[in-house]
């Protein structure tokens, strides 16, 4: 499958897909999308990169082991529920703030933090499975 065309286009395709996955993640609260689907898109992006250029470059690009990314996601997800405890409301109550950054009002919330956690878990888990399967020579 490692044709020249595929190898040349794969990095661009991957970056576009990762960008798109973040877009899907962030719009999720109001439009179709969200952390789960975003994570799947990002994972397939890395899977494609792996098929095209081999697994080692993907692992270098990811810096962390995909399973650590999943673990971090789980931690972020659980932490987002704990944040609300410090405001004196029950565990996992959604909290919202609307800071104005560069003149634009942005809605930040603990559900968004949680969704980012979901995104990282799905990304990390699927990517580690896909990369593990692609890595046939080493094992």
């Amino acid at each position: 499958m490692r044709t020249v065309i595929f190898r040349t286009t794969a990095p661009y395709l991957t970056s576009l897909m990762v960008l798109f996955s973040i877009f899907v993640l962030l719009r999720g609260h109001n439009e179709p999308g969200g952390g789960f689907i975003g994570g799947l898109i990002a994972a397939s992006a890395f899977a494609i990169y792996g098929i095209a250029c081999g697994v080692p470059p993907v692992r270098r690009a990811l810096v962390f082991h995909p399973m650590s990314i999943a673990g971090t996601g789980l931690f972020i997800g659980a932490s987002s529920g704990i944040i609300s405890l410090f405001s004196g409301v029950p565990f996992f109550t959604g909290l919202w703030i609307y800071p104005t950054i560069f003149g634009v009002e942005i809605a930040l919330s603990t559900p968004l933090v949680f969704d980012i956690g979901v995104y990282l878990v799905v990304l990390g888990t699927i990517a580690s499975i896909a990369l593990g399967l692609e890595e046939r020579e080493r094992l």
């Binding site: 999720g28 609260h29 109001n30 439009e31 179709p32 999308g33 969200g34 952390g35 789960f36 689907i37 799947l40 898109i41 994972a43 397939s44 899977a47 098929i51 399973m67 999943a70 673990g71 996601g73 789980l74 997800g77 659980a78 529920g81 405890l85 004196g88 029950p90 565990f91 996992f92 959604g94 919202w96 809605a107 919330s109 559900p111 968004l112 949680f114 969704d115 956690g117 979901v118 878990v121 799905v122 990390g124 888990t125 699927i126 580690s128 499975i129 896909a130 593990g132 399967l133 692609e134 046939r136 094992l139």
Partner: protein, 801 residues
């Protein structure tokens, strides 16, 4: 009772935050970071000091923080004399242990991780003794087992420490399960698992028909944690851990959790025939066995470890008498023991650090090189030996007074206690004086004094052993009285004297103990030889038994696995699908709930088109000559389903379905290439019929089930709720996403945890390699499709939620 978070809850959580920060502090400040980190337990100590005046007179302060309403797991605390004493010991000794760790592990690359584990343990232990709810007690109880496992096995490269860690986890974790069963029974009998409520109903559990099982289950937890004979063996083995761990977990705090539990339940489960038989027998046996085994050892840490076992036995024995004076003795002894044993362990570490050996026969004349260490060791050993004017003496006087002349078996208890205490004196002196006095012996390293970080702990703890005796009035009013009151279940005001006021039986017993101890001390070498020979003759011990037990368990598990999992993937899938079909179809047929055949809906041409794609995909799967084609064709079918979702207004679902289908095809194809299966998928006619029947049964079953579900009247309550509140209270227009991350966020949290764990399991499966790898030999049937099936279903299940 207040409902909000207060300072004590912050104190409960503080060690966990410190655990998260410790690696970063160490990275920035090196081993001196422990000065900074020690402020956390020090702060907690100061916080709990504020409660001292409130618990005088046996009062308890309880508070609930319902952090997760509806779940029924409020975080609640109960501070009375008992938990306050433990809280002060844990945070007070913890402060010095953190300092000591900084000095002991100086330059160790994993110091940050080590301190992190220590703080995790501190938080778990503190939560255990302060929780009001028994379920929370259990959670913290198991957390102490897990952190203890991590700390014992800290030297992961040493096989002995790995074995010791596993052993401690199996023994104490198993005991924890027994405790859990006991807690569930208590909940069923009493209707509550809040200690503060249970303590107001003495007699309720004792008279219940379930008293015996409850007691035995609780004892199962307490005896394993507090290393009672014959389950004591894990504690000496745990000495493989770095010395700060031994000093903190395995002498001053964690092993006392079992004693804490017994003292805590004494008012509600104690003072019965079973209680006063079982506890003294196990405790007394442990006391004698522990001291005798200690005599045999020459390693300083192991000598101390066995005396810890013995001391725990003494405490259990005293608690078992349910006698007020004996309980006061136990409380005093617990305080004294934590102080002197913590100090002595740190001294052992200092000697090891300063000379390079811990073998008592290879040490001597260190007093000149290590004067401060010697001073601390001497103070601690005098307290351990029960000599005035140390707290150990007061404790021993009180406990002799308690067991002398009470119930008929007192003579046996007294003799046990005297022998045990005499041997304790022998070991105390052997640890604290032998290495320092006498002729100087060459040691692997030139003997030198330890750094301030390491000296602070033993010096302060051993001086506390003296100070608490000198200011005995304060100690007895503010610490011993309240704690003894909690244990006895009624207000006690102990009358303690540092110096005996009259010649009573307890003073004579003390004199006998000291005399016996000194005689034995000067015959230590002889005694050691005898013990050595005796144990060699016996040849078998519980430690060996543990190995036999573990091997037996593994063998049995292996046989069962071979029986139910013969390794035929084909067979597993057949059984799984047959069961699925049966589970769906049988209730529908037997309960006569088969759906009516629906009318043909009026479909648009493009809907027909999508259906046609699905059917074409299906035909392609069935006709595929080769496996890869079949997988891709299955993808066509999946895309058609995604299109249907799209047409009927579920863009999120359809979006996810597209991605899941794509990834499934990719992953299945990857698995195919790895498995080196035969390219074509040839099946015999018989197999085709069997497989086809199964496929039709499962598919048809789902079809009928869905039809039946759709024909039920639709309850719109939930949909209306979500539609109404999605924007109003959750600020989101995408209802699916709002449900996932907000309304049902906790469910999703559970699901992503499952996804991550499933991922770990799959990763492990991918990496498994058979020992003798059949090279380039194709496997003839669909083995290992299960890997893919689980990879595929776990995310898919998430979306269909």
């Amino acid at each position: 009772m207040n409902a909000a978070i207060d300072g004590t809850f912050i104190a409960i959580l503080a060690p966990f935050f410190a655990a998260a920060l410790a690696p970063f502090v160490v990275r920035m400040l090196g081993h001196n970071g422990s000065w900074l980190l020690a402020l956390v337990p020090a702060g907690i100590f100061v916080h709990f000091l504020g409660y001292i005046d409130q618990t005088v007179g046996g009062a308890g302060i309880a508070s609930v923080w319902d952090w997760w309403p509806g779940m029924g797991w409020p975080l609640s605390y109960l501070i009375d004399g008992l938990s306050l004493m433990f809280a002060l010991l844990i945070s007070g000794i913890g402060t010095f242990i953190i300092l000591y760790s900084g000095g002991y592990m100086k330059g160790h690359p994993q110091l940050g991780r080590f301190l992190s584990f220590m703080f995790l343990f501190m938080g778990a232990m503190q939560g255990l003794i302060i929780s009001d709810n028994l379920v929370t007690v259990f959670i913290f109880w198991e957390l102490t087992s897990i952190t203890s496992f991590l700390l014992i096995g800290f030297n992961t490269t040493k096989e002995k420490s790995r074995r010791a860690a596993l052993q401690a986890l199996v023994v104490t974790g198993g005991g924890g399960l027994s405790l859990l069963a006991g807690i569930i029974l208590v909940q069923l009998v009493a209707g509550t698992s809040d200690l503060s409520t249970l303590l107001t109903q003495p007699g309720l559990l004792q008279t219940s028909p379930y008293y015996m099982p409850i007691l035995l289950l609780f004892l199962g937890g307490a005896f394993t944690k507090s290393a009672q004979f014959p389950l004591h063996f894990w504690l000496p083995n745990a000495m493989e851990a770095p010395t700060p761990v031994s000093a903190y977990l395995h002498s001053a705090t964690m092993v006392k959790a079992g004693v804490y539990l017994l003292m805590r339940i004494q008012p509600i489960m104690g003072d019965t025939l079973a209680w006063s038989i079982i506890l003294p027998i196990f405790g007394g046996t442990t006391l004698i066995v522990g001291t005798l085994l200690a005599v045999r050892q020459t390693d300083l840490k192991l000598m101390l470890a066995y005396t810890t076992v013995a001391s725990l036995g003494l405490l259990v024995m005293l608690t078992g008498t349910s006698n007020e004076i004996a309980i006061q003795g136990a409380v005093l002894y617990l305080l004294a023991h934590s102080l002197f044993k913590g100090a002595l362990f740190m001294v052992a570490g200092l000697i090891d650090h300063g000379t390079g050996t811990r073998d008592v026969t290879k040490l001597g004349g260190l007093a000149k090189a290590m004067p401060i260490t010697f001073g601390a060791a001497a103070f601690a050993a005098l307290s351990m030996a029960g000599l005035p004017p140390f707290i150990g003496f007061v404790a021993k006087e009180e406990l002799y007074l308690g067991i002398w002349g009470t119930e008929p078996p007192f003579l046996a208890l007294t003799i046990t206690a005297v022998i045990g205490n005499a041997l304790m004196l022998v070991i105390g002196f052997a640890v604290a004086f032998k290495p320092f006095l006498g002729a100087k012996v060459e040691t692997p390293k030139a003997a030198h004094e330890g750094p301030l970080l390491m000296l602070a702990g033993p010096v302060v703890l051993s001086v506390c052993g003296l100070a608490s005796a000198i200011f005995l009035h304060w100690t007895s009013v503010h610490l011993v009285g309240p704690m003894a009151s909690s244990v006895a279940g009624k207000v006690l005001t102990p009358a303690l004297h540092l110096f005996p006021t009259a010649i009573k039986a307890n003073l004579i017993l003390s004199l006998i103990t000291v005399a016996l101890g000194l005689v034995l001390f000067f015959r230590l070498a002889l005694l050691r030889g005898i013990m050595d020979r005796v144990l060699r003759t016996i040849g078998w011990g519980p430690d060996l038994g543990f190995d036999q037990f573990m091997n037996g368990t593994v063998l049995a598990a292996h046989r069962v696995t071979r029986l139910v999992q013969p390794g035929q993937m084909n067979m597993y899938m057949k059984v799984a699908f047959a069961m699925t079909a049966a589970a769906i179809l049988l209730p529908l047929i037997l309960l006569d709930e088969l759906p009516n055949w629906p009318e043909m809906p009026d479909m648009r041409f493009y809907e027909w088109g999508v259906m046609a794609i699905a059917v074409i995909g299906l035909a392609a799967v069935l006709n595929a000559k080769n496996r890869l084609t079949a997988i891709v064709a299955l993808g066509i079918q999946g895309f058609a389903v995604a299109l249907i979702f799209m047409l009927f207004g579920a863009p999120d679902l359809s979006f996810t379905q597209f991605m899941v289908e794509t990834l499934s095809v990719v992953i299945l194809a990857l698995v195919m290439t790895r498995l080196s299966l035969y390219q074509d998928d040839h099946r015999s006619p018989v197999r085709t019929v069997v497989d086809g029947t199964l496929a039709l049964a499962v598919g048809g079953g789902f079809f009928l089930l869905l039809l039946a579900v759709v024909q039920q009247p639709f309850n719109a309550e939930l949909s209306d709720f979500f539609r109404e509140h999605s924007v109003a209270i959750a600020h989101g227009r995408n209802i699916v996403n709002v449900i996932l991350v907000d309304f049902r966020g906790v469910d999703t949290l559970g699901e992503i945890a499952v996804v991550a764990i499933a991922g770990l399991a799959i990763l492990a499966l991918i990496r498994v390699r058979p020992k003798t790898r059949p090279k380039a030999q194709p496997i003839s049937d669909n083995s290992n499709v299960g890997v893919v099936a689980s990879a595929k279903t776990s995310p898919a299940q998430e979306t269909t939620q």
